[in-house]
């Protein structure tokens, strides 16, 4: 084995090896870079199949050469430890670098360089890239649905008011803090409902009545997820308590409820709310489709919420229950003042994840004919003036949803970190 010592890299010939290795790697990456960004082929004199594999082979030799343990060079050691631990890892590293270089130019040119955003009609889109004009023209529809253009301030004001009221808890003084739970569980939902009802729906105070059929776009996504969110939490809490109850009838009813809703897909629940539920109501009783959908999603997500809260209840040590009981507290007192505050703090990340799933599920209301963002995209896509821009629309929607969901998941992660140290 000692025959090949001149190829083995170790500390004795580090200078030579380092220079050769870096040179080879640079060549290999440069070749791919030039190839994909400038359509130059440095090694076009070779036959095509060899030329295709050359950068990879050269890069592998280079990475193999610079793989020196304890070289004494700090940067080299970090590099080796992170991307170059073995031949297999080196190959994967090279492949990923090449893939990134290959993928950037086409996506960059499609998204930005060759894209159009000026103009107001389809004809303005002359480039080979994306047509962001389409998004620009339809932007208001994607955000507000069929809601009349001059009335959009109502939606904005309503959202600002609701968000403003939601941040109330941040400014509450120490004295007010004990009423916060009451505020968020009971008062806030009612106020929010009234604001949205009177401001967005209208019909009073000189505001024009706008039926729920015209609501749509991203604002509808927010409305539906907001209401489901605030209603499914109390429902889940009650169900979780019911499932942990000592009373068999209460327990089995809760178990049956939770397992039923967790066992069926949301889409059938929505179908149920739109075609089957009206049959179950008295004849002269009319319920708006949006309300039915909100009720259905709330019932559905309530079951998931209940399971998360149950996890929190189960993780509390028995001593907490015993201590509360020994102080002479009854069932409700014990739960409201001792058990639930601790359990809910534990399940905040889980609840956040449930809400995240809820937000991701809202586009489904499209299947029962409510045109939120996905529905508006489907509408815009089939508009004869704007055919053929499905890709732009879906990428736009994906970016919006991604930002919302990613922010939520990061927030939930932060909360998790924050409350981890407590126990």
């Amino acid at each position: 084995m000692n025959k090949f010592t001149f190829l083995r890299s170790d500390r004795s010939n580090i200078q030579l090896v380092l220079i050769t290795g870096t040179f080879l790697i640079t060549i290999s990456i440069l070749d791919v870079f030039l190839n994909s960004f400038f359509r130059l082929n440095l090694i076009s004199f070779l036959p095509s199949k060899v030329s295709f594999l050359t950068p990879f082979i050269i890069g592998m030799i280079g990475l193999n050469l610079i793989r020196i343990e304890y070289s004494g060079n700090k940067f080299l050691d970090i590099l080796n430890k992170n991307i170059n631990t073995s031949n297999f890892n080196a190959a994967l590293t090279l492949l990923i670098i090449f893939l990134i270089f290959k993928a950037i130019p086409p996506s960059l040119s499609w998204m930005i360089l060759d894209a159009n955003i000026s103009g107001d009609t389809k004809e303005a889109c002359t480039g080979t890239g994306a047509c962001w004009t389409y998004i620009k023209v339809w932007f208001r529809r994607f955000m507000y649905g069929m809601y009349p253009n001059e009335q959009h301030w109502r939606i904005n004001t309503a959202f600002l008011l609701v968000i403003g009221l939601g941040t109330f808890g941040l400014f509450a003084t120490e004295k007010m803090k004990k009423f916060l739970a009451l505020y968020y569980v009971v008062i806030y939902p009612i106020i929010a409902f009234l604001i949205i009802y009177y401001l967005i729906s209208g019909g009073y105070f000189g505001l024009e009545w706008i039926e729920t059929g015209a609501w749509g776009g991203l604002s509808l996504t927010f409305i539906v997820s907001f209401f489901c969110l605030i209603f499914c939490f109390p429902l889940g809490m009650i169900l979780a308590l019911g499932r942990r109850s000592n009373l068999p009838a209460v327990r089995y009813v809760s178990i049956g409820y939770i397992e039923f809703w967790r066992g069926v897909p949301l889409i059938t629940v929505l179908f149920m709310s739109s075609v089957m539920f009206p049959m179950f109501l008295p004849e002269d009783f009319f319920m708006d489709k949006l309300v039915r959908v909100i009720i259905a999603i709330t019932l559905f997500e309530g079951a998931y919420c209940a399971e998360v809260i149950r996890g929190g209840l189960q993780s509390l040590p028995r001593g907490q229950y015993d201590a509360a009981k020994s102080l002479g507290m009854g069932y409700w007192k014990m739960h409201i003042f001792v058990i639930l505050p601790q359990a809910l703090k534990l399940v905040i990340p889980g609840i956040c994840n449930t809400f995240l799933a809820l937000v991701k599920d809202t586009p489904l209301i499209f299947v029962v004919g409510l045109a939120e963002l996905a529905g508006m995209l489907a509408l815009a896509k089939t508009n004869p003036k704007w055919l053929g821009f499905a890709m732009e629309g879906y990428i736009f929607a994906a970016i919006i949803f991604w930002i919302i969901c990613y922010a939520m998941s990061k927030y939930s992660y932060n909360l998790e970190e924050k409350y981890k140290t407590d126990r």
Binding site: K81, N82, I83, T85, N89, L92, T93, I96, I97, G242, N246, L247, P248, A249, V250, Y252, V253, E259, F260, R262, G263, V264, P265, L266, I267, T268, V269, F271, M272, V275, M276, P278, M279, F280, L281, P282, E283, V359, K360, D361, T362, P363, L364, F366, V367, A374, L377, A378, K381, A390, M391, Y394, I395, A397, A398, F401, W402, C405, Y406, S409
Partner: protein, 453 residues
């Protein structure tokens, strides 16, 4: 004791009811009021109801949850339960009453007899023979099979991707770790419906027309109208299958023998390579000697009209199925990857180091020490994800893939107008799949859980 007697009473009533139903017909059918006629078909299930109530009582008797250890008064124990039950019953009665009234007014009657009527609609894609003359129940079966097909395909692909990404997230390589993390963050945070739409309406629409498609792997064609693959045409398929079966049995014996050899004499034989060789050689032998032959039916371009072409022959995978499988598996794979990562991270470092210090190779450490323990943590949440995937496959309705929801809760409901029956059948189907898998999972968890002494 009281509970146990009650439980046996219910069991007895249930059995009696079952016998009476079998031999004399339904005795409860006369008891229902006019307005609750809707409950009639449900009365078939009364024995099940009796048995489950009996089972609940039996379970309660074992828990021995009595007044004494609840430590409170009789009223406090019974009144909430009574209120709870009566609320449930009242809601049920209210709904059935309204439904009966509504149906009477609209002239619809309740019942499942429509299932035997002619369906008279077509399905674009089905695994079994189906045409419009078949009854609704056959449409239901075919649609259910389509749903299961998507679910199975999705589960297979999401497991493969998920395991690779999950392991990649723990890789020592900075680039691999981060690209895996970005994959997870990217696909997890976009609603599944949008992903399905993206694949179906945007990505797959960019594929070439059939006449312009260039062959992929020589004989398959990926076109805008679907993916065309050669079909296998077997001669004497059964002999081939027998040989595969024989190979599997032989492998089981060899593994058993190898384990015995290892335990008794400490010898290791390369079981994996031997099994691989057997699995290849035996079926190949049937080709040479057993008269088995395999032909391919290669898809051929066929002109329908001046501008419309399709491929004829072979197996055609519709674009709906491709889009759905892609979206479902890419989306669910992110969750599977997180489960795998959590499972491997859940094994303490000491296990790995102890195994390494015993002289096991890295592969052996992974196979013999880490994986058996990690699987215990990985499998339950992963099964949950499989269930989610099965439920999410109902999104197929949005891109017109003929699955259970589209065919049954969509087309069939529109044609018959039987909202209550059809929606409840659909929901019950999904519910029973979920509950069955959940029950299987509980049983499996009990089987593999660490038996503490």
């Amino acid at each position: 004791m009281k509970f146990r007697i009650l439980a046996y009473l219910f069991f007895f009533v249930g059995t009696a009811d079952l016998f009476i139903k079998i031999f004399y017909g339904n005795i409860f059918s006369d008891l229902t009021e006019d307005y609750y006629e809707i409950a009639n078909p449900l009365l078939v299930f009364t024995p099940v109801l009796f048995f489950s109530i009996g089972g609940i009582f039996l379970k309660e008797s074992k828990v021995s949850l009595t007044l004494e250890n609840f430590g409170t008064s009789r009223i406090k124990y019974y009144s909430p339960q009574f209120i709870c039950l009566s609320v449930v019953v009242l809601i049920f009665l209210f709904f059935t009453f309204n439904a009966q009234m509504n149906m009477e007014n609209r002239g619809i009657d309740f019942g499942f007899d429509f299932l035997t009527q002619e369906a008279s609609f077509d399905m674009q894609f089905s695994l079994m023979d189906y045409d419009g003359q078949d009854p609704y129940w056959w449409a239901y079966v075919v649609a259910l099979l389509n749903t299961l097909l998507v679910a199975v395909l999705g589960i297979i692909f999401c497991t493969i991707i998920g395991v690779i990404v999950g392991i990649a997230r723990l890789s020592p390589n900075f680039l691999i770790r981060n690209s895996a993390a970005w994959y997870v963050e990217f696909f997890r945070n976009i609603p599944l419906l949008l992903q399905i739409f993206f694949w179906y309406y945007a990505a797959l629409r960019a594929l070439p027309l059939p006449q312009d498609a260039s062959p992929l792997f020589g004989v398959t064609y990926l076109t805008i109208k679907g993916y065309y693959m050669p079909a296998f045409i077997w001669n004497n398929l059964n002999i081939f299958l027998y040989s595969v079966l024989a190979a599997i049995i032989a492998i089981i014996f060899i593994r058993y023998y190898a384990t015995k050899l290892r335990d008794n004499e400490g010898k290791q034989i390369p079981v994996f390579y031997i099994s691989l060789i057997i699995l290849i050689i035996l079926p190949v032998l049937t080709f040479l000697a057993g008269g088995v032959s395999l032909n391919f039916e290669i898809p051929v371009l066929k002109q329908l009209s001046a501008t419309s072409f399709i491929y004829d022959g072979g197996v055609a995978v519709p674009p709906e199925l491709i889009a759905l499988t892609l979206a479902l598996s890419l989306y669910t794979a992110t969750f599977v990857a997180e489960c795998v990562r959590a499972g491997i991270q859940g094994i303490s470092k000491g296990q790995k180091e102890a195994a390494a210090s015993l002289g096991l190779t890295p592969n052996q450490v992974l196979k013999l020490v880490i994986m058996p323990q990690a699987l215990r943590i990985i499998i339950p949440p992963t099964t949950n994800q499989y269930l989610n995937l099965t439920k999410n496959s109902s999104l197929a309705a949005a891109i017109a893939y003929p699955d259970l929801v589209l065919v049954f809760a969509g087309t069939a409901l529109m044609q018959t107008g039987r909202a209550i029956e059809i929606v409840s059948i659909t929901m019950l189907t999904y519910l029973s799949i979920s509950l069955a898998i959940a029950a299987l999972m509980n049983w499996y968890n009990k089987l593999i859980e660490i038996k503490e002494k």
